[in-house]
């Protein structure tokens, strides 16, 4: 990054953070960079982000000081904007390998033949929020978290025990005990002293990542492992920071240990990390695409309204006939997805992260020794005509082969799909909101400047009037100004009342919401209890009965989003009252432009509140065997019913609380923002009026004091300069407005475009 200059203002300095860095991360070799994606992920979104940040700085020179805090706030949001992309899928689907391929760094994340990733790992790219001084930060479990895990097995164990009192999940206990013993063996008996610590490193090495992220060899581990200590058992999360990567827009890639892991603790860790990403890359193995556990994971995501998903069918290199079988797999997967999720358009990319990684190593190894005969038809399809037997490859052939491997790896298509999904992500919504806010500010600034300009012109016209007539004119003008002042004051008073009203609306609305949601949970719990009783009365109570909480989630979500939408539209209605008020003032200030330009925000609270809290109960989605156990353990149907009702209520109470908090926070944020905008605009008007008042006073004083020709000449020149400045501001604001409209338009690019296959 370029050295920061100390002399510049804070805004200018901040804007520097947005300047593009070096185009790509250091490629492992001269060849490798050729096989990198031509276009960085999220480039179009980043373009808008950078433009908005520059505009924020430029706007400040044309807007009143009142707009300063608003711009600062917007700039901060622009800096913190980041898209979270989770890479999920079953254990051993090739998630870490995929991330390495996407990064263009074949050996970055440790991979292995056995399930290897044990820790949820976040890879941060150009996230201005975090200091780049560290390359890797590892958070170890706190003492509480560890003892909760080691003694209880976390939420899974807790829930199981509440489901089945007295039931000991032997497997889970054995695995946790195994993990505890292993931690002891690896880190010494006093490993507890390490808990709660956070380890930071300036440099990232493969060994370091292995120590903290990899599960390690559970079974064939030699007693003496060398001097290195393996912390992965007690590491809660890993954060890696990169100056450059495959992303143009700031992003966080999240690597997960994988679902369907026979090691239950890792399975649990993965499920807990699924709540808040913007985009999911679902990695499947081409050998066993869309198995039952993949389907159930997709259903869960769909149930939680996680709709930005791209499916990457990995490992096509391992198919007997990668071309024909690959096409068949793609077809089958697409068909199945359409059947399961008719409302979703999930892009499916078939490829091989292994091929991408192999292509990146073209300079260092003879690719042919790694390729199987079955791979060649695929590469020939990509246009490669390389003799698989000739002694040495020419540099050109190596390049061609590397290029073909990349082309057939599917990485380019996945990148393009992520870019498209980013266009509808929360980040895009945020940028659109900021652009809309800037547009409002420039409009009001333009109106002020034009009013000022009109005032000055009138002044120049009447300059040579007789002093008395002029005095009367000035008095008249002053009177009208004080009228505007009064109106603006009154408007501010109204704003205060509106603010109170809005706050009250949020308070009472969210309380009603809370009661409604609790009511839904109680009703559902009672229904389930009834269902248990009824199923016990039937003769064939042996069949597997499962408590499916998905309908409850759906009901909660529907009620939640419905109420939220109602409150949001109430707020928008009040906003709709505010803006006409502004219009009245503007019309008064500026009769020529009556009917212009101030409108309510074009962005009527479109962003949907997060329903992430709903996924906190994923542990309730236990399979049939668990419910069977639960049934076996509770003899009396009445007891069962009672217990189940309590369980559902206990489990969902914190969810309701969190949902309500989220709604409250989001609405309060919107209300605050609206009031900030309204006040900034009225403040802007106020200072415009003030300036015009001062102008009148000065002029009057000057006219009264000296009426000589030279003074008038000077005065006219001064006024001309000011008029020019006003015209410039006005023109600049209009230009900004135009650019902002383009920025908003750019964010609404078509994301229905289908993926090129």
């Amino acid at each position: 990054m370029a050295p920061k200059s100390q002399g510049r203002g804070r805004l200018a300095l901040n804007v520097q953070l947005f300047e593009r860095g070096a185009p790509l991360c250091e490629a492992p070799s001269g060849f490798a960079s050729r096989a990198r994606p031509a276009e960085l992920i999220g480039a179009s979104l980043e373009d808008v982000r950078v433009r908005l940040a520059r505009l924020a700085a430029e706007l400040q020179t044309h807007l009143d000081d009142n707009a300063g805090p608003l711009l600062e706030e917007a700039l901060k949001q622009l800096q913190q904007a980041s898209c979270r992309i989770a890479v999920i899928g079953q254990v051993k689907a090739g998630k870490s390998t995929f991330i390495n391929a996407l990064m263009g760094r074949p050996g970055l994340l440790p991979t292995d033949i056995n399930p290897w990733t044990a820790v949820v790992t976040s890879l941060h790219f150009k996230n201005a929020d975090t200091p780049p001084e560290h390359a890797a930060v590892f958070h170890l479990f706190s003492a509480d978290e560890w003892s909760n895990l080691a003694e209880g097995g976390g939420n899974l164990r807790e829930l199981t025990q509440r489901l089945v009192p007295g039931f000991k999940p032997e497997l889970l206990r054995a695995q946790i005990e195994f993990m505890r013993k292993r931690a002891e063996r690896r880190l010494g008996k006093s490993f507890h002293k390490l808990l709660g610590h956070c380890h930071r490193f300036k440099e990232m090495t493969p060994e370091l990542l292995t120590d903290y992220i990899s599960a390690g060899d559970d079974y064939a581990e030699a007693g003496a492992e060398g001097q290195r200590q393996r912390y992965s058992d007690i590491t809660r999360s890993a954060e890696l920071f990169f100056a450059d990567g495959p992303f143009a827009f700031p992003a966080t890639l999240i690597d997960t240990p994988g679902t369907n892991d026979p090691f239950l603790v890792r399975d649990e860790i993965t499920r807990r990390s699924l709540d808040n990403p913007d985009i999911y890359v679902f990695v499947l193995s081409a050998l066993q695409p869309l198995s039952a556990s993949d389907i159930s994971m997709l259903r869960l995501l769909n149930g939680l309204h996680k709709e930005r998903i791209v499916v990457f069918v990995n490992r096509t290199d391992q198919l007997a006939d990668p071309l024909a079988d690959g096409a068949a797999v793609k077809e089958a997967v697409e068909q199945r997805l359409r059947l399961e999720f008719p409302a979703l358009e999930i892009p499916v990319v078939v490829g091989s992260a292994w091929m991408a990684n192999l292509g990146l190593q073209a300079a260092d190894i003879d690719l042919r020794t790694h390729l199987k005969p079955s791979h060649w038809p695929l590469l020939r399809r990509a246009g490669v005509r390389v003799d698989s037997r000739s002694d040495a490859l020419s540099d050109q052939d190596r390049l061609r082969l590397a290029g073909a491997l990349h082309a057939m790896s599917g990485m380019h298509e996945v990148s393009a799909a992520i870019t498209r999904l980013m266009g509808s992500s929360g980040s895009a919504v945020l940028l659109r909101q900021i652009a809309a806010c800037f547009l409002e500010l420039t409009r009001s600034a333009e109106i002020s400047a034009k009013a000022e300009l009109g005032s000055i012109r009138k002044l120049l016209e009447t300059r040579r009037m007789e002093a008395t007539a002029l005095g009367a004119k000035i008095a008249e003008e002053r009177q009208s100004l004080s009228l505007f002042e009064e109106r603006t004051d009154a408007l501010r008073e109204t704003f205060k009342q509106v603010e109170q009203h809005l706050a009250q609306l949020v308070d009472t609305g969210t309380e009603t919401l809370r009661n409604d949601l609790y009511h839904i949970v109680r009703t559902f719990a009672d229904e389930q209890a009834d269902a248990v009783l009824r199923s016990a009365q039937r003769r064939n109570s042996n069949s597997t009965w499962v408590c499916n909480v998905m309908p409850l989630r759906e009901q909660l979500e529907a009620a939640y989003l419905g109420s939220f939408g109602q409150m949001a539209s109430d707020i928008v209605r009040i906003e709709g009252f505010l803006y006409p008020q502004l219009k009245v003032i503007v019309a008064g200030l500026l009769p020529d432009y009556a009917g212009a330009i101030i409108e309510a925000p074009a962005e009527p609270l479109r962003s949907v509140p997060s329903t992430a809290a709903l996924s906190d109960t994923v542990a309730m989605d236990l399979g049939a065997p668990w419910w069977k156990l639960w049934f076996a353990a509770r003899p009396s149907p009445a007891e069962r019913a009672d217990h189940l009702a309590n369980l559902i209520e206990d489990e969902f109470a914190p969810v309701v609380h969190e949902l309500v908090q989220e709604a409250k926070a989001q609405l309060a944020r919107r209300v605050g923002h609206t009031m900030q905008v309204a006040n900034a605009i009225s403040d802007g008007m106020m200072s415009g009026i003030e300036r015009r008042g001062k102008l009148l006073a000065t002029e009057y004083a000057q006219l009264a004091a000296e009426n000589d020709e030279a003074a008038l000449q000077r005065f006219e020149e001064e006024q001309q300069t000011r008029a020019a400045a006003c015209a410039e501001t006005s023109a600049a604001c209009a230009a900004f407005g135009e650019e902002l409209r383009r920025a908003i338009k750019a964010l609404e690019f078509d994301h229905d475009e289908s993926i090129p296959s």
Partner: protein
């Protein structure tokens, strides 16, 4: 076996087993010759080959039959278990609930001729099938519960089960869950077949994968065997050449044959 002792039926079967190398008829022959299956009930033990879809079950069946007799991969996927036993002439038929049989060919196995198809019956003139009968089950975990039920029910009545798991994504949580739900008695006579061994590049990886599977899955099976079915099939004898012993051993074919022999003998 002590000298002079009279051979029991079990011993005769094992001898038959040891004469590995019977050649299976090519698929083309079968499709046009739906002959009758010998009605004599064979007492040979039933070996069920079971696992999630695309886990290499049919390839393994072909290795055990001594040549390509059932189609594999994406080409034909039968939704029914296939019971394979000895017959003087090759034949393929649907068996219905009332034991009635309707002759068919491989290209038609996905089209059920009646509501209550119980399974497919494949008769082959391979002497080894006097030593054991094979049940090739439909792949589990496709999300189709009826299919899963058919596969696991076919397995329940077996004497020996071979659970197939692909080496690169071996022994997932769902596999363990499904296996442990099957009758406990199966476990002492069953084999975990780790298929697509050839997809694992290095010997070190194979060793470490083996170590994990022995620790995690080993307690639930009589043995764990890694096998590259494609290589094992290539090692099998043809009319004009003997078995490629080096490849037969390297592929894991020999280890699988030994493990199956032990399971049948148990």
């Amino acid at each position: 076996m002590s000298e002079g002792a009279v051979a029991t039926p079990q011993q005769r079967r094992l001898e038959e087993f040891d004469r590995f190398g019977g050649e299976a008829p090519p698929l083309a022959v079968l499709e046009h010759s739906p002959g009758r299956i010998a009605t004599a009930a064979s007492p040979a033990p039933r070996v069920a080959v079971v696992g999630e879809f695309n886990s290499g079950k049919s390839s393994l069946v072909n290795v055990l039959l001594g040549g390509a007799a059932v189609p594999t991969g994406y080409r034909v996927r039968s939704p029914y278990p296939v019971l394979i036993n000895y017959a003087a002439r090759p034949s393929l038929a649907f068996e219905l609930g009332d034991r009635r049989r309707i002759a068919t060919g491989w290209e038609d196995v996905a089209r059920a001729p009646a509501q209550d198809v119980r399974r497919l019956r494949l008769g082959l003139p391979i002497d080894r099938l006097k030593a054991f009968r094979l049940i090739d089950t439909p792949g589990a975990a496709t999300g189709d519960e009826a299919l899963d039920a058919r596969a696991f029910n076919a397995c329940r009545r077996a004497d020996v089960a071979i659970w197939c798991t692909p080496a690169v994504q071996a022994w997932k949580g769902s596999e363990r869950q499904a296996w442990l739900a099957l009758p406990r008695r199966l476990r002492q006579r069953s084999i975990l077949a780790v298929t697509y061994k050839d997809a694992v590049a290095s010997a070190d990886d194979i060793e470490r994968l083996g170590a994990r599977l022995h620790a995690e899955a080993g307690p639930h099976f009589a043995g764990v065997v890694m096998i590259a079915c494609a290589d094992a099939l290539r090692a099998l004898p043809l009319a004009d050449r003997a078995r490629d012993e080096a490849l037969w051993h390297a592929s894991g074919g020999a280890a699988m044959a030994a493990a199956l022999r032990a399971a049948i003998a148990a």
